[in-house]
């Protein structure tokens, strides 16, 4: 049964008819076509579906869309502005943080959530913040390097 969901996705206020049993992941991917958010394990074990809900990183596969009604959701598609990559996106690109790319949106959104509350995390803090995100290429070193590079870029810009 569908009912109206009021929600802000990537800065745009929306009202959509959404099924009661729709996961936030299904709503984003199938309802809005925002397929940057990946469906990995589908059971909260891999972190590929990580999005920001009210600024905090959450698993879209373990969240009903209606449970975040009236909230704010940000996905990987919301990070670039006017074709300009975000600090984290640029760092992942330049420091080879992306291999097959499947875990990358989740990694970047989890890192984005961290940097908003802690703009200058050390490597251990980054590791802890990304502990729920798996990379099936096992490219963890480059991923941590990328987040560190984004932190440094932020410090230089400040």
């Amino acid at each position: 049964m569908k009912s109206v969901l009021r929600i802000t996705v990537n800065g745009r206020a929306r009202e959509d008819a959404v099924a009661a049993n729709a996961l936030l992941l299904d709503y984003l991917r199938d309802g809005l076509g925002l397929t940057g958010t990946k469906q990995g394990c589908d059971g909260g074990e891999c972190g590929a579906c990580t999005v920001l809900v009210d600024g905090r990183p959450r698993l879209a596969c373990c969240t009903l869309a209606h449970s975040v009604a009236d909230g704010t959701v940000e996905t990987i598609e919301g990070l670039a502005h006017n074709g300009r990559l975000s600090r984290l996106q640029r760092a992942f690109h330049e420091h080879l943080g992306t291999q097959c790319g499947y875990c990358t949106p989740g990694m970047i959104m989890a890192a984005e959530g961290l940097l908003r509350t802690e703009p200058r995390p050390d490597r251990d803090t980054i590791r802890t913040a990304l502990a729920g995100n798996l990379c099936r290429c096992t490219g963890y070193v480059k991923i941590l390097d990328s987040v560190e590079a984004a932190v440094q870029a932020g410090e230089e810009a400040a």
């Binding site: 959450r58 373990c62 009903l64 209606h66 449970s67 990304l130 729920g132």
Partner: protein
């Protein structure tokens, strides 16, 4: 993975309204953070016609530190619990246990109440439907034999929440809301040693809050054994609360998780109180922990390993807290 079953979704704004909705719909389930229930619904491990989302109930959220106790709403997220300065300072076992659950993204959704009511787990139960079907199911769901203990009349699925042993060691109690009003239970009374009926909740009852007494002079901690440093459920977890008076032990409570169908408070520790914590006392402590747990083949880590590791985990944690209290 199979698709999510159809259900009606309700979002009440009070605990009483939630309980009334549950009573009016025979097949309904409460939903908190969703990290346990939603994957289980999709895997066919749970079924329901109605989901009652507790996320809109203000009463269930929040932490209040009073002079002699801490009151924590059951809807408080594990992330909020772990980050609360008062909890970290006064009840370190609770903060450490909250931080030990799953990964950081889970903890932003998962709640205290959800972790306390976590479904019991077993290698024969937490599997896909085709896997379970090929294995002719098990007693916990759709079958009639416990695959872990085939001659047993009961299910041995293991309780695997991290927070419950910490709260047992800290002597917490829980507030429960039902259609007949509210009641309070010691957390130790909240669990049964049965993988299928592990919660002392009557039908439709809702866990609303946890209250933890503040005990000056006591220290506490939680240690967890797992294969990876994150995401994994405990192979074994040990929480300790300890009070030291000079060279003598003034109080000791230990509780374990992952090694029984309920979080297990270790009995007989009073014999050690009033004594120095010497090698003989630590050996006795290890014996009592081993006697108090019932590790079964519910995980991929072997039973002998978990039987050996759990008492050692307890011994190390007790020794650390004892030394720090000097």
């Amino acid at each position: 993975m199979p698709v999510m079953p159809d259900f009606e979704l309700l979002r009440p704004d009070s605990a009483e309204a939630a309980v009334a909705l549950h009573a009016s719909r025979p097949a309904s389930r409460y939903l908190a953070g969703g990290t346990d229930l939603l994957p289980n619904l999709r895997r066919g491990l749970a079924d329901t016609a109605t989901v009652i989302d507790l996320g809109g109930i203000a009463e269930l959220a929040g932490i209040r530190v009073d002079a002699d106790r801490v009151h924590i709403g059951a809807g408080t997220t594990l992330a909020a619990l772990a980050a609360h300065p008062g909890i970290a300072a006064e009840l370190p076992a609770l903060a450490q246990a909250a931080l030990a659950v799953a990964g950081p993204t889970h903890r932003e959704s998962a709640t205290l109440g959800g972790n306390l009511c976590l479904d019991t787990r077993c290698r024969y139960y937490n599997q896909s439907t085709p896997w379970r079907e090929a294995n002719h199911y098990c007693m916990k769901l759709e079958g009639d034999v416990c695959r872990v203990a085939p001659k047993s009349k009961r299910c041995y699925a293991a309780f695997s929440g991290d927070v419950a042993p910490a709260l047992l060691a800290l002597d917490a109690e829980v507030d429960i809301v039902g259609t007949n009003g509210r009641r309070t239970l010691a957390l130790a009374e909240f669990y049964h040693d049965d993988g299928m009926r592990w919660l002392a909740l009557d039908r439709g009852e809702l866990l609303a809050a946890v209250r933890v007494p503040l005990a000056p002079g006591w220290s506490s901690g939680y240690e967890k054994l797992r294969i990876r440093g994150a995401i994994d459920f405990p192979l074994s977890g040990v929480a300790v609360a300890l009070a030291r008076d000079g060279e003598r032990l003034a109080g000791l409570r230990i509780a374990c998780t992952g090694v029984s169908s309920r979080p297990e408070r270790i009995e007989g520790l009073d014999a050690l109180v009033g004594q120095p914590l010497d090698d003989a006392a630590l050996a006795q402590l290890e014996k009592l922990v081993l006697r108090g747990i019932q590790a079964m083949e519910t995980t991929t880590a072997s039973v002998p390993y978990r039987r050996k590791a759990t008492p050692i985990l307890a011994r190390r944690l007790v020794t650390r807290l004892w030394t720090e209290a000097a």
